[in-house]
């Protein structure tokens, strides 16, 4: 279980996520939705331990954070580096290979199997700079497969991806869920969330609603989220709220 206790994540003194409390149950499949600037990626970054927490905390069992798989947005990847697809995917086995241990035959087989599972069989020797956006996202999903993680965090995984690739990768997400892994994904397509996800967290810097998808994604909540995201005060006073 991942528990958020009065969590606030701030950028330059302004809250991106404000006093958020709740829990992601083990094995749950949750979509984080909300307007642009609602703090979705910041929340995921804080759960992954990549962003500092301004107040409150993210409570996870000891050692779990290191075993989380976190797939940030593609823009953070430098595709000009001439790296093979197989080498990129093999990095997912960092816990086994570390800085300098050799890639044993069994890991090579796992890399091949992971690439086949995302529809990239035969792409081992291609350079990552030669892949389309969809193929690169498939390769990154293969890297997540290699991590064999109990918790998987996906930040806008289907942005600029065609429908076929999205459908294929949603099958992979469903398999992770069926295997009992906790999956948390930041998404924009509400219809996709309604069809493929069990639970949703509607965020507009504060939590608007968190629970079963059908209850969260109602018109009233969505309108409330849009209003909250649009209010911004550069000269807002210091927050005194405790919980």
């Amino acid at each position: 279980m991942i528990e958020l206790r009065n969590l606030t994540v701030a950028h330059r003194g302004h809250p991106a996520v404000h006093h958020l409390s709740g829990a992601f149950e083990a094995g749950s499949l949750t979509a984080i939705v909300g307007p642009n600037g609602a703090g979705k990626s910041s929340l995921l970054g804080a759960i992954a331990g990549q962003l500092p927490v301004a107040q409150g905390d993210v409570k996870v069992e000891p050692g779990l954070r290191r075993r989380m798989a976190w797939l940030p947005q593609q823009a953070l990847l430098d595709r000009s580096v001439p790296l093979d697809v197989a080498d990129l995917v093999a990095l997912g086995a960092w816990a086994h290979i570390g800085s300098s241990r050799a890639l044993i035959a069994a890991l090579h087989e796992r890399v091949d199997a992971a690439l086949a599972a995302v529809g990239l069989a035969g792409f081992q020797q291609r350079l990552i700079g030669e892949l389309s956006a969809g193929q690169l996202q498939r390769a990154l999903f293969a890297r997540v497969l290699m991590q064999d993680a109990p918790v998987i965090l996906l930040d806008e995984p289907f942005n600029a991806i065609d429908a076929r690739t999205t459908a294929d990768l949603l099958v992979v997400v469903a398999r992770w869920h069926s295997e009992g892994r906790t999956v948390i994904a930041v998404l924009h397509d509400l219809e996709q969330v309604r069809v493929h996800f069990d639970r949703a967290l509607l965020l507009a810097r504060r939590c608007i609603a968190w629970g079963p998808v059908a209850e969260v994604l109602c018109a009233e909540h969505l309108l409330q989220a849009r209003r909250m995201a649009e209010c911004w005060d550069e000269t807002a006073p210091v927050c005194r709220e405790v919980a």
């Binding site: 990549q50 430098d78 580096v81 790296l83 960092w94 300098s100």
Partner: protein
Amino acid sequence: MTPYELLIAPFADYGFMRRALVACAALALGSAPVGVLLVLRRMSLVGDAMAHALLPGAALGFVLAGFSLWAMSLGGFVAALAVALAAGWLTRRTAQREDASFTALYLIALAGGVMLVSSHGSSVDLMHVLFGSILAVDDGALLLVAGVASCSLLALAWAYRPLLAECVDPGFLRHVGGPGARVHALLLVLAVANLVAGFQALGTLMAVGLMMLPATAARFWAARVGPQMLAAGLIAMLSGVAGLLISFHGEQASGPAIVLVAGGLYAVSLLVGAREGLVWQALRQHRHRAA
């Protein structure tokens, strides 16, 4: 002049040329792969900045101990590393970008170093520090160059995977507990160490040439990082041999001759390099495959 007299005799007949040849080969092996990584990390100009930044340390070593290889090398190493660390610290603590921090600090360091040497030595001394003298490489310098090259290759072999991972996806490396900040620091230390090793032979202003020009040229010959490092090492070695011969026969300063040859090989690579050389690009422009 026979081919033997042109290519072999200078090395066969003169000990200083043989020493220079070995120094060039070691410098090429050590610094060219480091240059490839700096290019991949978009830090080409940072290498240049660090080469300039080692001047005040080398100058201080010169003022305190005269032309002592170890004093000047140690001073240069500490000064360049201090500038690199300070630039990194400023980048993290202020809104300034890394290249701007490096530029500000290396310009201050360079001016300070030139003032230190010019106020405590002759213009000949200044020229020696700025441009080096590969034909005056002694046993100590040779050991320093070979030692730095050996350590560089071993360190690169050990940290090759995290260095590449840090280039392509630093966030992922940090998340899985990889040594992101440490390999970045290692790369800076290796760059500084190789520049210090090269500065005695080539001078502070030329040392970076043998590191960066072959590395940029190598991209036109090889797609992957390993082969690029090999190509860069070979181009650097070829530059060393050809530069020494031009320097010997044409009675020119060796450092600029070596770097100019490296520049010439870069131009050749740019034009006819097997990967995206300008000539091949022009020839291919109107042709495409059927599928």
